[in-house]
Symmetry: C2
Subunit: 459 residues, 2 copies
């Protein structure tokens, strides 16, 4: 809450139980500020305060509360009490709420709602999660092509309290097909007797109900829109997605990307860490851990194959962790850059040669530098490790250095190649998770390591 | 571009060089759609087309082009040609552009601009990167408290073409101090003779020029704002940040978080992978690689310390990579969840005990499961590895299993603990990068591994 004087004032009025003073104060505040104040109170107190407010204002503030508090409130409220709020909630938010309350509660609630609201809820309910349809709202403003600007403004003025936004209006024909778009700015600048048809923009940017929600959010971001219209297969306008929903979608997708990248499975909901039960966490994380640890078997086989070499040069074991870590780190770095560049559409799968060349030109100096450091480390710090007679430290250092250099260079290339290949195969590049990559470069790295040592030392 | 018929039409008009037809068509399209079409043309062609359009429309379309294309165009344009565009560009976008063109070009351009634009550019230039001041724009709409609604609407109508948005207007007193806020919706609903003072919202949500841009973007997201006002130390309104800027900031911060998390240093600009020269990439990535590879030395010392054990039980080397990988993966998973939960403010540093308890309750079953699998793996697949007489595979399997279980549990806890500790120390939790974490749990893991084996096998 921005204003430090409002909280005590609000608390005072709540205690005095003065319904009209409360209504006045809350109406003058941003509903988000009131929600911020309410969220620290007991559920029964919040319920009491919401009951004192006019239903529309109560619904607005209710909609700003965290979804968990909304659910708790909904479960504690009587049927009529909840219906009073739900009737006035924004159409997308109430569907989000209803999806998360128990089915019995939903069923007892529905008959208490107006029929038109019931039908609206059922329609929004029907779209698959993750689609544009599932995040859109149906409380948008429409105009018809033959209205005058004066008529259009009068309609918007009348409908303003019930619409998610009146800054963008959508022009539809008799069969509700989307034919144009007008902003409130266009309308207030225009001459009042102009017709909507003459003014409207016909170059429409829109989404289909079945489009991915992320595609829709990206359009809102790209074209700096306040809202994006959503049409069905027949081109009829069925909803809009607003700029604030776009931010929520983008945040949710970020969380998903990061979790996928770290090999965490399951469905991802922003802000669910503490609420998610341990069993869910266990399932989401375990699958990949097991798969990757099974891939670790392959690394094990390589070590086992070179066991003789390792017994002869125990000093080699000392540098195994460093080699594996550095390879994993280098690979993760390039994979991160590539996954992100693919996500923001900076590069496309066709750029594969450019990307590999870039990684090669970055990887080569890194390889040389790290190889030099590894050589110095062996020569100066590893004197006490056991090694057979006739192999001076400098030779072993050279072998370790060359192996590490090769590991850095190949890891940088593999880290770039795997996400690019995933996109070519129409997979999400983030599935080439950093842990998976680490495991892959472990395998290639150990093989390179032992082979290089064998070749250079001639054993 | 949404409409497949527009591109050929645009191309046709461009070829016929019909300036007024081009102006009409471009005015009817979203500037983003025109920019989408232009970006595939040669710089000289784009320059020619922009020159045919009215300056305001040309500037709008120019602003929708990628920053790189803008820079190239700016560098190829004559002084007056560029000034014509820059005069009409949105105030924040032109500052972004000027920051990135060579200083000589800036200096020759400035005298060609109107004085008021010059001063505005200098002011916006002066804010530090990453602050709210550096991303705000100064083309916002203001009202004064004593205006009537009728006067206010007339002013907005007049100023609309020059303002970034007229949907939110800010009410300022004579000394430009921000005292209230009104939306265009409030204004068109209100009676025309009401005064701004009577209607305006006094519960202001705003940012300070020196605030972090991410804080500002988060307020826009939280309160579903179209724009957020920015004030200076004296409470004077100096700019606004709009909803579309908030999305850009959120995307940029996400890239930064991911790169930090993967131990990539340096300044991060969205969409810069291919443009960044190899030398920059090298610098950004190398520092951490070297630091981490130096930390690998510690793992090396642990291996060296237990060299005798390793020579006796070469079979142990086979499971070293699996142990290191699994620890790194488990730790990265919990770190990712915690860093993200901290970033979206779902948990705070005070929740440390709750978080550790959650990680313990998730980590314990994972540890048991993976320990069981490791035991089975040793017993069934490692028969051929060399080990001394008198130590049955089942005993070695038990030791490896217990060690892996301990590694999984401690890694999950360390992965959660490090980012929480970073926040307590007022560091960015993402600095506890996944590679750094991997290196840490490698060290703890190897120590646990050899110690467990020693204790359980009694050697």
């Amino acid at each position: 809450m921005e204003n430090p004087f409002l909280t005590p004032r609000l608390r005072e009025i709540v205690q005095s139980n003065d319904s009209s003073a409360l209504q006045d104060l809350c109406a003058s505040l941003h509903p988000g500020s009131v929600a911020e104040f309410l969220k620290d109170l007991q559920i029964q107190e919040i319920r009491h305060i919401l009951g004192l407010l006019e239903p529309r204002l109560g619904a607005e503030i209710f909609g700003e509360l965290d979804l968990e508090i909304q659910i708790e409130l909904a479960e504690s409220m009587k049927r009529q009490e909840l219906a009073r709020i739900v009737n006035f909630m924004s159409h997308d938010e109430r569907v989000d709420l209803l999806k998360r309350i128990p089915e019995e509660k939903q069923e007892t609630l529905m008959p208490a709602l107006a029929q038109v609201e019931r039908e609206d809820i059922r329609r929004l309910f029907s779209y698959e999660e993750g689609t544009a349809g599932s995040v859109m709202t149906s409380d948008y403003a429409t105009l018809s092509p033959d209205q005058t600007v004066r008529e259009a403004l009068a309609k918007l003025r009348r409908e303003a309290p019930d619409k998610e936004t009146i800054y963008y209006s959508y022009v539809v024909d008799q069969s509700r097909r989307l034919v144009g778009f007008l902003s409130l700015k266009d309308l207030i600048i225009a001459r009042p007797d102009k017709r909507v048809e003459e003014l409207m923009h016909r170059d429409l940017i829109y989404a289909h109900v079945t489009d991915d929600q992320e595609e829709a959010a990206r359009k809102i971001a790209k074209y700096d829109l306040i809202a994006l219209p959503v049409v069905n297969g027949r081109g009829e306008l069925v909803g809009i997605i607003t700029h604030d929903d776009a931010i929520d979608i983008i945040n949710q997708e970020h969380t998903e990307d990061m979790e996928k990248f770290m090999a965490i499975a399951g469905s991802h909901e922003t802000g669910a860490y503490l609420r998610t039960p341990p069993w869910e966490h266990f399932k989401n994380r375990c699958v990949w851990l097991i798969v990757l640890s099974a891939m670790g078997l392959v690394s094990g086989y390589i070590v086992q194959r070179f066991e003789g070499l390792l017994l002869q040069f125990a000093i080699l074991a000392t540098f195994m962790p460093m080699l594996a870590d550095t390879g994993g780190n280098t690979g993760s770095q390039s994979a991160t850059l590539i996954v992100r560049a693919l996500a923001v559409r900076e590069i496309s799968p066709g750029d594969i040669m450019k990307v590999l060349w870039k990684e090669f030109s970055v990887g080569l100096p890194m390889a040389l530098l790290l190889a030099g450091l590894a050589f110095a480390r062996v020569v100066f710090f590893a004197g006490s490790s056991s090694r057979p007679q006739g192999y001076p430290l400098s030779e072993i250092g050279l072998a370790v250095g060359v192996a590490l250099g090769l590991q850095v260079l190949t890891s940088a290339l593999i880290g770039a190649l795997l996400p690019m290949a995933a996109v070519k195969l129409r997979l999400d590049p983030a599935v080439v998770a950093s842990p998976a990559l680490t495991t892959v470069v472990d395998i290639t790295g150990l093989f390179l390591y032992f082979t290089t040592v064998r070749v250079l030392l001639g054993v």
